[in-house]
Assembly symmetry: C2
């Protein structure tokens, strides 16, 4: 039987334990909430697959079911979750369980951070993306007024249970989505990059994924422990690929977050090479991985789309875009460009893809 | 000219400087935001009195004006504030200014804690209550689904400017309201209690109030520095009088928060004496102060009203009410009672007031 590993995030306000590996759900889920009032937030897809697992593990707790999909990550759903928490009579010592992907983790985390100024939350991520990235680190959010994640909190989950059990039911697209954040993490951590390169032909293989999930969680836990609130610059590196990625996501919508991260990485790699920050050779080794997962589209409206990044939280000034780009093996750089220059380069990259 | 004093709150996440005294607004307000994008949240009463002061101090920043009154402390206003912050293009380095009483401070604080997961907030309390109590300590909230402060965050203001300048325009009722929290603080701090007793006949005198504001802020800053998140029990003492107070506030509505705190203190003092926690003699010395400020009503529906306290955040279990009561000079005790027993005692106290 595979080993369950524990990773810890330590911040000024909380210690967060992450149980990672096959069997973690069965071993920990029920025990961690024993004797407590719980409240489960999940989505319609996950509930249809796992309502029996919820029952067998937690009995019949109140469950709030969010319609599956990114569109649900809004203020209406957030208020409905909070309303259901009041109706369930949750108290300060109650526990919220987020069972689902990034949307559920972000929203349930925000609701838990707000209810009575904070009740305990346990993240049980069910997608590859939420296991390797969003369930760890305590960023919670909703999208609001057309801006991604603009309303949220920093609120660490007390526990995270990342069990590959849930990967078996994931559609292929969700695996691509998770690989977006995994390849991004590879740009931040040379060891992970080497593993990805060595396994370039079996990135979607479950045995490989199980191993890399743990590596990615370790990297993220280290970053969050060092720089929970994004003040030293370290946590900012996790946004690699996300500036163009978020803009494309807002404009083109149809793909998943992780796919847009990969596309954003590709476009911003182009900018990094053009700006002399990154060699073509290193860029090519990343592009090779990206292309194993998706076909990068030539966005005709790329220039228009990336105007949306002017609302990006990461920018400190209007008309200036900030992004983190790969520099060399395991290293990144922060690059700031005037919005118009940035948009022109995005356009140039789109044209190069048409050629 | 009177001295401006500085009090500091130190928590794991932020250092909060409180400038207290006459002239503090003129000396600090403009300087603290120099070169930054600001966003002012205020209410219709304050704006009608101080729109010129805002202009003279801050130029023409975006201002969001909340309709004056407790009823505005709801999710609709919160979302409108956040919407206006997005429309104003606020960034991570922008600063929110809360210019108003407790409602404004609580809501603007919550909005600031949520926008981009936290932008800086400066509290400029304009009422006696918000100067002595709610502007310090970082509790933010809205009322939701009929429960007081059930949705909120812990989020320290970077600065607080408590300037008696604003007291001149306060209606008498607002002074009574502030005295509610001041007398409550007297029950927690023997030195403040002695000052109140010595000045029992001039509690509403502005010279006296200026002195006691500073004392109350010092006491609260000490409590919050020691126990920001209400985990050790120390911060809980600030809730003295608030269990019955909140229940009466929800049920009877018409009085102000501070008045209900005084009424709640009176009713819970009755319970403290009955339970043998507090001597009649010490209770009488507190009651003497309460009666200098308000006439305590004999609530016929007290029993019904206090059923509302079953939703109180402070309770750890259903059907059990938790409250902090005066024990002896400068000391308090926590008392937990079954809800029905509590309600019966509230009723008994109401009857004794009719007698």
């Amino acid at each position: 039987m595979a080993e369950i590993k524990t990773v810890t995030v330590n911040t000024p306000t909380v210690k967060s334990d992450i149980y990672c590996g096959e069997g973690a759900f069965n071993k920990y889920a029920a025990d961690l909430v024993s004797g407590k009032d719980i409240f489960v937030v999940t989505d319609s897809n996950v509930y249809s697959l796992y309502s029996n697992l919820i029952k067998d593990t937690f009995g019949t707790p109140p469950v709030y079911i969010v319609p599956a999909g990114e569109k649900s990550k809004n203020e209406r759903q957030l208020l409905n979750i909070l309303k259901a928490m009041v109706a369930a009579g949750l108290r300060r010592n109650s526990v919220v369980i987020a069972l689902g992907g990034g949307v559920i983790g972000d929203m349930a985390g925000l609701a838990a951070s707000l209810y009575m100024r904070g009740v305990q939350i346990i993240q049980i991520p069910t997608t590859l993306l939420s296991q390797v990235d969003s369930s760890v680190g305590g960023k919670t959010a909703i999208d609001f007024c057309g801006v991604k994640n603009i309303v949220g909190t920093f609120y660490q989950p007390r526990y995270v249970i990342a069990d590959p059990l849930f990967l078996n039911t994931l559609p292929a697209r969700e695996i691509r989505c998770g690989l977006g954040e995994i390849i991004k993490t590879g740009c931040l951590n040379g060891d992970i990059f080497d593993k990805l390169t060595a396994n370039a032909n079996n990135l979607k293989d479950v045995t490989f994924l199980k191993e890399i999930i743990y590596d990615c969680i370790c990297h993220k836990a280290y970053v969050v422990t060092e720089d929970e609130r994004e003040t030293t610059g370290l946590r900012k590196t996790l946004n690699l690929g996300h500036t163009a990625g978020h803009a494309f996501e807002l404009y083109y919508k149809k793909k998943s977050h992780g796919e847009f991260v990969l596309i954003g990485m590709y476009y911003e790699l182009y900018i990094a090479v053009k700006s002399g920050i990154c060699t073509q050779q290193y860029a090519d080794s990343i592009i090779k991985l990206i292309k194993k997962v998706i076909t990068v589209p030539a966005y005709g409206d790329g220039q228009k789309a990336c105007m949306l990044s002017k609302y990006d939280k990461k920018n400190e000034r209007a008309a200036e875009v900030s992004m983190v780009v790969p520099r060399e093996h395991g290293k990144t750089a922060e690059l700031k460009l005037p919005l118009d220059e940035y948009a022109a380069l995005i356009n140039e990259c789109a044209n190069s893809l048409k050629g």
